[in-house]
């Protein structure tokens, strides 16, 4: 496990390794605080950001992470590239391999795209899943866990998991790769996961998910008293049917507002993976309150992605493709 080749799923990480990654990220966070924010570690390595789907923060975050480790970064987005001329994933991947990419960070609208790339034999570099369809987004789960650990344990967080931490993930669970990856990683780290959503936005067969399901945000806030309330973006672009009657109704029942914010525990934190739909799943008061970790999550994202790239790209690389 310590010789992880690719990062495809948050479920690939066992507890020790996940904590190790978070500890490495802690060291990277120090770098992001100092004046010269650069390490020579990945000098001469090439990281390709292969983005088939729009993204601002994830792509910039990976780009910054790679650059802070002195790797060369190539940004590839489907728009304005040969993909729009009909090039297949296979041909794109083989082109990148021929150019000598050491790591490929891929975001794709199809679930499983990163997995296909990793096991295809088309490419030898490390594959990092930066979001595939409605499946997974493991670095987001890592940065969320990192943010929780830092808020809860402060400077003494090294080596610690998230045992007993109660996390309520609220909103569009059905379409959310963030929710899926978070569930896997939070379970590994010992946290207790609650999903809160309208029944239409929960998966059809949640029985194999190790999480408690709720339909009412108010009940969860008052009865479960979560340590962490994570609001998910309502992914209108993936909604091909009407999952709730109106945005106003959604916001009234499942949105976080100033009044619900006041009912949270004093120590509770409010998270959002971004981009936020202000006024829909979260209102401005909550998004900008001291409980909100939205901007910390962005900053921590760079540290966590540095840790992932460092861990995947240092050490002897196996040359066989499994």
């Amino acid at each position: 496990m310590s010789n992880l080749k690719n990062l495809l799923s948050a479920g690939d990480l066992d507890r020790d390794f996940a904590i190790h990654l978070l500890d490495v990220a802690e060291g990277m966070a120090d770098v992001n605080d100092r004046e010269i924010k650069k390490l020579p570690t990945l000098r001469g390595k090439t990281v390709v950001n292969l983005f088939f789907e729009d993204s601002t923060r994830t792509r910039i975050s990976f780009e910054l992470a790679a650059k802070r480790l002195s790797a060369d970064v190539i940004n590839f987005s489907a728009k304005g590239s040969s993909v729009s001329k009909g090039e297949s994933l296979k041909d794109t991947a083989q082109t990148l391999e021929a150019m000598g990419a050491d790591a490929v960070v891929i975001r794709h609208h199809a679930s499983g795209a990163a997995n296909v790339l990793a096991h295809s034999g088309w490419i030898n570099g490390a594959i990092v899943n930066a979001g595939d369809g409605t499946h997974e987004h493991p670095t987001q789960a890592l940065l969320d866990a990192f943010t929780m650990r830092k808020r809860i344990h402060g400077t003494a967080s090294a080596g610690k998991g998230l045992d007993g931490v109660k996390v309520a993930i609220t909103g569009d669970v059905l379409h959310s790769r963030v929710a899926r990856s978070n569930l896997l990683l939070l379970n590994t780290l010992g946290a207790e996961v609650h999903f809160v959503a309208p029944p239409t936005l929960l998966p059809a067969n949640p029985s194999n998910w190790n999480a408690k399901l709720h339909y009412s945000l108010d009940d969860v806030i008052d009865l479960e008293k979560p340590d962490v309330l994570m609001m998910l973006r309502v992914q209108t672009e993936r909604m091909n049917a009407s999952f709730f009657p109106s945005e106003r109704e959604y916001s009234r029942i499942w949105g976080l507002n100033g009044e619900r914010l006041l009912r949270l525990k004093d120590t509770a934190i409010v998270m959002h993976p971004g981009p936020m739909n202000r006024g829909l799943e979260i209102d401005a008061v909550s998004a900008d309150s001291p409980k909100s970790t939205v901007l910390e999550q962005v900053a921590n994202g760079v540290s966590v992605r540095m840790a992932v790239l460092f861990t995947l790209l240092s050490g002897e690389r196996a040359t066989d493709v499994s």
């Binding site: 310590s2 004046e35 390490l39 020579p40 570690t41 240092s314």
Partner: protein, 184 residues
């Protein structure tokens, strides 16, 4: 495998005390400001412990020293030149005194000086934190076999060794006991 003890617990204490006083002496000769511009940086893991011990001796000899500004630690993992061939190491915390290292005299502290590659990495790392007036090196054991033009300014003990031999430094804080052992 045979092993023999080359430094006892008392030997280590004496060496640390002597190194601390040598650092002070050299520092006084170099700058009039005394310990105000002196920074001791330990290199993990055992260099950090030795740096703490040296700082303790300096505090005793020069009352009024600001420990916060004197002592720090420098993790060099990310600056190593063997990351590609060695298994991934854990990155630990780096702590540089709040006044920084610009125009300070920085003393790097490590347990064993061998190839010199760790120290090269440490010099690169220092570069990213500022521009010290001078950098010195203190080690508990110098075992020879340098691969780079690097030498120590303060040495606890010079130990001629064969390349295959292993030097094990044990310090109470990390290993429960003090001692330096050669294993072959």
């Amino acid at each position: 495998m045979s092993s023999r003890t080359v430094l006892s617990s008392d030997d280590i204490d004496r060496a640390v005390t002597r190194i601390a006083h040598e650092i002070l002496e050299a520092n006084t000769a170099l700058q009039k400001s005394g310990t105000a511009n002196l920074v001791i940086l330990g290199i993990p893991t055992r260099g950090v412990i030795l740096a703490e011990r040296i700082a303790k001796v300096i505090e005793k000899a020069e009352p009024g020293v600001d420990r916060e500004q004197l002592l720090g630690r420098l993790d060099i993992t990310m600056y190593r030149d063997d990351l590609a061939s060695n298994p991934t190491r854990s990155v630990t915390e780096t702590h540089i005194p709040s006044q920084g290292i610009d125009d300070k005299v920085v003393v790097l502290v490590d347990d064993v000086l061998f190839s010199g590659r760790t120290i090269r990495a440490a010099l690169d790392a220092l570069n990213d934190y500022g521009r010290p007036r001078a950098v010195r090196l203190a080690v508990l054991v110098d075992r020879g076999h340098r691969e780079l033009p690097i030498r120590a300014d303060f040495v606890g003990k010079n130990l001629p060794t064969a390349r295959e031999e292993r030097i094990r430094v044990q310090l109470t804080e990390a290993d429960g006991q003090n001692g330096v052992v050669i294993e072959s």
